[in-house]
Symmetry: C2
Subunit: 219 residues, 2 copies
């Protein structure tokens, strides 16, 4: 199984690429720039040995993959999806991990997305034949890009049971991560606010690692 990381050269993208590749998946690290994609793969290989990572342009990665993780900054999403619309394979699954947070100077701010969440914004811009899930929004990029087990839960929502199941199966491959099914796509409104809450708590308690665990749930 091949998984594409779009925006694979950012901190979150690199972290996820390494974690999925460490779990044995073939990973395409996508970037607008083939050079930056190649450099990211080289850096990841240098740190962690011979992982099944390949560099690709975003165009190539989207056209080649049945599972695509969208890890570009939220302000880039609309333009990217409009440009890539015709390249998606029918039946592909897109996993949205974006958080609509911008920084005014050092001050983080959750954008007011008219569709209610980044995930719903993305749904409106995706071809009908592409399934959409939202997840991995609440774990800081810094934690994802480390090598320690994640030791937390992550929430999954999606536009179909199947989109959620495929995403959950994928996340189960990452050590220390418990994926939890949170239902329809509009639950992303909650995840995105929780991502902002984690940022707020990190700043107040001088951490960079805040993430969530649900107590009292046998899964």
């Amino acid at each position: 199984m091949t998984i594409a990381l779009i925006g694979g050269t950012g901190a979150e993208g690199r972290g996820l690429a390494a974690r999925f590749a460490s779990a044995g998946l073939r990973v395409l690290v996508g970037s607008r720039s083939p050079d930056r994609a190649a450099a990211a793969v080289k850096a990841l290989q240098a740190g962690r040995g011979d992982l099944p990572l390949s560099a690709a342009t975003n165009d190539e990665a989207i056209a080649a993959s049945d599972t695509i993780v969208l890890a570009v900054p939220f302000p880039c999403v609309s333009r990217l999806l409009d440009a890539q619309h015709a390249r998606f394979k029918s039946g592909a699954l897109l996993i949205d991990v974006t958080v609509p947070v911008v920084f005014d100077g050092a001050q983080p701010r959750l954008l007011d997305v008219s569709e209610g969440s980044a995930a719903e914004h993305i749904r409106r811009r995706l071809p009908d034949g592409v399934a959409l899930a939202a997840s991995l929004k609440t774990i800081p990029a810094r934690v994802l890009s480390g090598v320690a087990p994640l030791d937390c839960d992550e929430f999954v929502c999606g536009d179909s049971e199947s989109a959620r199941e495929r995403t959950i199966a994928l996340l189960r491959l990452i050590p220390g991560l418990r994926p939890l099914d949170a239902g329809p796509l509009d639950s992303a409104r909650t995840f995105e606010r929780m991502a902002m809450l984690a940022i707020t708590l990190n700043r107040r308690y001088k951490s960079r690692d805040a993430r969530f665990h649900v107590v009292g749930l046998a899964t």
Copy 2:
């Protein structure tokens, strides 16, 4: 120190009354009906021995207290606050623990509150001289009304640093609960969605105990 529980005869109110009283605080269990307040106090005493609990009407409890926990169902909030407006002591702290969730049959649904959250809705209806914090929204009433240590975190936001500090000092008295300062009052939008997420997860994973712990935060 006396703390009033408005809506003290509901599951959440009773649970909090018992936990605060067990921590040594004098607690006024408030209800519209003096008989129901008295019955709730009697039931709590029967289960847990000689706790410093007293029955009161909501009117009496609000007029007498510097710290007031608002635990009525959200649909009752506006009417109650309008009726009680003149009774609040200046300098009092109100802690809003309401969640704007209604059930359509068995189906839970988060209400769309025009102010953004129940807490902000309440702020608009509270006298200026009363401070407001929001907390205890994400822990299920069933968990609060048990006797086991809560073993989770709870988030606190408020309209001033002082409102948050007073609330955090209070919550620290409850065993197993770590209060976390999440900043300004509009963070309640996040807490209320998280309460809905806990309900969703409980239903999906056949639990009634889902609540949150933040990993990676040294406090």
